[in-house]
């Protein structure tokens, strides 16, 4: 039996897939449809003092017809607070087995926060999420990422809320900081029972080369927006892993609800493997509708079946142990590229990238192609790329650009025979650092 249900900071949910606070969680009608489709929970669109939104609030970063990322200038809910609260109450009553969490945001004013929290408590919601992350509009009013970027404010506001609520309290972190563990720590110190991350990344999605306007153009002007969607997944994964690896998070077993670029079950599993307890989706739903939940559930279930997992807890955080500080990476581990001439289609992308950006160790040799390379010539003689193993550093760039599945393989070499530079037998990166300067230098990875 595969059990997909989870318990997150005391909140029960029939599966780990939640709608993130955003346009799809604006109303009871939407949540109703999403729950009917199968979502396990939803974080209501951030409420607070009602705002006025701008028209044309999105722009996208596209590669031809594919949206890589979405840039938005949307503020918090622009519906009346009382209407939102009434609908929250209705939807929770109707769907007792789903997680209904309310995202809130107020100005930097203790009384306002307390008043809002009380109203949310009365609605019967399962939990509260503090939106400390909105990167546009709200910071100018002294809230949103303004609070989320400052550990002192983050701790203080969290503690204001904590004092007046018994509900599970989730603090949503902004990625627009230098060190996310600082704000995560401050939130926990302030009383957060759980963390969620990431909110959008501050962005400009593009500039119109004819009008010189920045996108989206709102009557000729634009502003810094928030970036979301598939393109931000790698950043979100890394921040999730960082927070999940924090000692404080592990000791107190602070659950993490992760998001940022999730659009498939595979993405979701990656976040769970890096320590998340639930996952949230916004852009993917905005671009495809609630129906994607069926595919998320199907994929997750079949993957768990194949791997022999019966619950989410069986694999949650399983990949965290594969992340180590750079200096603990094995310096004697070595691979070299090997090209399968039977599969090669002669695009020579490997050649050109190795020549110009790696180690100039792919030669072009002649050989016999399987098929005539140019139909009208019927010629079978053609050039083949071939790696010079003694010069290959195993960077793997060629493998990444090769368009043919498993045509270039990275072959692992026997470790003991390796020397990085002639005459110097490698032990560890620490050892190299010490030898060079007398102290430990860990190279930076970028």
């Amino acid at each position: 039996m595969i059990e997909l249900s989870i318990e997150f900071a005391g909140i029960r949910s029939i599966n780990p897939f939640w709608l993130a606070s955003g346009p799809p969680t604006n109303s009871a009608a939407q949540l109703n449809a999403a729950f009917e489709a199968g979502f396990g929970g939803a974080v209501w669109k951030t409420i607070g003092t009602a705002v006025e939104n701008v028209s044309n609030r999105y722009s996208s970063y596209k590669k031809w017809d594919r949206i890589l990322g979405l840039n938005n200038l949307e503020l918090i809910s622009d519906r009346p607070l009382e209407l939102n609260l009434k609908e929250i109450q209705e939807i929770k009553k109707r769907w007792p087995d789903r997680a209904v969490i309310v995202s809130i945001m107020e100005e930097y004013d203790r009384e306002k926060w307390e008043e809002l929290v009380k109203k949310v408590e009365a609605s019967g919601a399962d939990g509260i999420e503090l939106n400390f992350g909105c990167p546009h509009g709200m910071p100018e009013r002294g809230t949103g990422s303004k609070i989320g970027q400052d550990p002192i404010l983050c701790r203080e506001v969290t503690s204001w809320v904590k004092r007046v609520t018994r509900l599970p309290l989730i603090v949503k972190l902004t990625p627009n900081v230098t060190d996310i563990t600082q704000t995560a720590k401050a939130a926990i110190e302030g009383g957060a029972t759980a963390l969620s991350l990431i909110n959008t990344i501050q962005s400009i999605s593009g500039v119109d080369l004819d009008t010189f306007e920045v996108l989206p153009s709102i009557g000729g002007k634009s502003s810094y927006g928030g970036y979301s969607g598939e393109a931000i997944k790698p950043i979100a994964l890394s921040l999730t892993a960082k927070v999940a690896s924090m000692e404080m998070v592990q000791e107190k077993q602070v659950p993490i609800s992760a998001m940022g670029g999730i659009s498939t079950w595979r993405d979701s599993v990656e976040f769970l493997l890096l320590g998340a307890s639930s996952v949230q989706l916004c852009s993917a739903v905005m671009l495809n509708g609630f129906r994607i939940i069926e595919d998320l559930l199907s994929g997750l279930k079949h993957w768990m079946e194949a791997k022999g997992f019966s619950s989410i807890a069986d694999f949650r955080g399983k990949s965290l142990s594969h992340i180590v500080p750079f200096h603990q990476l094995e310096p004697t581990f070595k691979q070299i590229a090997q090209i399968d001439p039977q599969k090669c289609i002669h695009c020579f992308l490997c050649y050109i990238v190795c020549r110009d950006a790696a180690h100039h160790c792919i030669d072009l040799t002649d050989g016999k192609a399987l098929y005539p390379v140019i139909p009208s010539s019927g010629k079978h003689e053609w050039m083949f790329p071939k790696v010079r193993p003694e010069d290959c550093v195993g960077c793997s760039l060629c493998q990444h650009v090769c368009p043919v599945d498993s045509c270039i393989e990275m072959i692992t070499m026997e470790a003991q025979k390796l020397e990085l530079r002639p005459g110097i037998q490698m032990k560890s990166w620490e050892a190299i650092g010490k030898r060079a300067t007398g102290e430990v230098l860990y190279g930076c990875s970028d």
């Binding site: 031809w64 289609i345 020579f348 992308l349 098929y371 140019i374 139909p375 010539s377 368009p403």
Partner: protein, 429 residues
Amino acid sequence: MEFLKESLPPLSLSEAIGEASRCLYCWNPPCVTACPTGIEIPKFVKRIETGDFRGAAEVILKANFLGGTCGRVCPVEELCEGACVLTKLKKPSVSIGRLQRFAIDHFWAKQKLPSQWHIQIQKKKKVAIVGSGPAGLSCAATLAQLGIEAVIFEKNRLPGGLSTYVIPSFREPIEVSLKEVEEVKKLGVPIHTEKELGKDFSLEELRTAYDAVFLAIGLGKSPQLQIPGEAYFLDSLEFLSRAKLEPWSLPNANNIVIIGLGNTAIDCALVAKKIAREKVSILYRKRLEESRAYPKEIEKVLKEAVPIQFLTMVKEAVVKENKLVGLKCQRLNPHSILDSVGKKEQTGIEFFLPAELVIRASGQQKPLWITTMAIELDNGFIKVNEKYETSLPKVYAGGDCIRKKGMFSTVHAVEDGKKAAFSLAASFS
């Protein structure tokens, strides 16, 4: 008229960018090697993808001044697209031809040739070019860009060779061919039409008046079948040329019969299909496997449901009251030994096929009149070396008239013209 329109619609902006984005941006890929003019395909395709259409057109025109024609008429399955590496991944190749057409159309609609292409022509050396088909135009454009004076003599009323007169409009409308002619003129090349070598002037006269001569005279009409009543048949080139330039002059016919199954015959069938009231059919002396037409072309006639009678020979024209009414045909014995001369045992049945219009499409004839000049030939084609020099000093040749082997195609003629121009320039320096 419907059949005068180009059959493939132009790519829209978003189609072009989408198609361009499929290209892998290979390095020195087979598609470039397969292009006889060596257009840097990944480069121009990527420029389309990023919206630099002028940059794309410059890449194409630098290698092939007749890129607008070639993007339409090239047998791309046999050349660049057939070699595209994507086909080896069982994916459709990048539509290089249509992207090329997109770039050039865009360029013509919006822009003039870049100024650095208009080189000051030095009056020191003068080249006479005979024939304004693709080979002649390409040679002239290249010479002009090298600063060498070139003059074209053309026997027809309109310049452009087969692109103007023969290649069906559904593939290349006449405007495209004439536009390219204009572009060549803009580079400073005068084109004197209705001036025929061998009639209005001799090769000797050209050789004395000019520093060099480039012969780009193409091929002739289709050869005679040597059967009674043949005078009632229409030559394929004449049929295509009338269909393209003056379609109203074609006789009304309920039954059109085409003799032959080469690329020209297929073009005739496709054009005929669009104008015939009733029936178009093809008679072919040999078997399907023996046809020299491109497989893609044969597919087209099959799709158009044009019946093809194989191993069928035309014995004579049946004429009544001075009008063609049909053909007397005979089936050939499929087991008899086949040879290129067609001396098959004529043992099959004879039958009558009604036809009011019969088109003789058995390939183009070699330029026979050239034998009257003291120039060395090779199997009827003008003999040249790798520098495009003929046996006569200062006389060069290129295009279909030298194509002893290989493809009769526009793009090869363009490459000949370009390369011959470089050889000519080198001989002057």
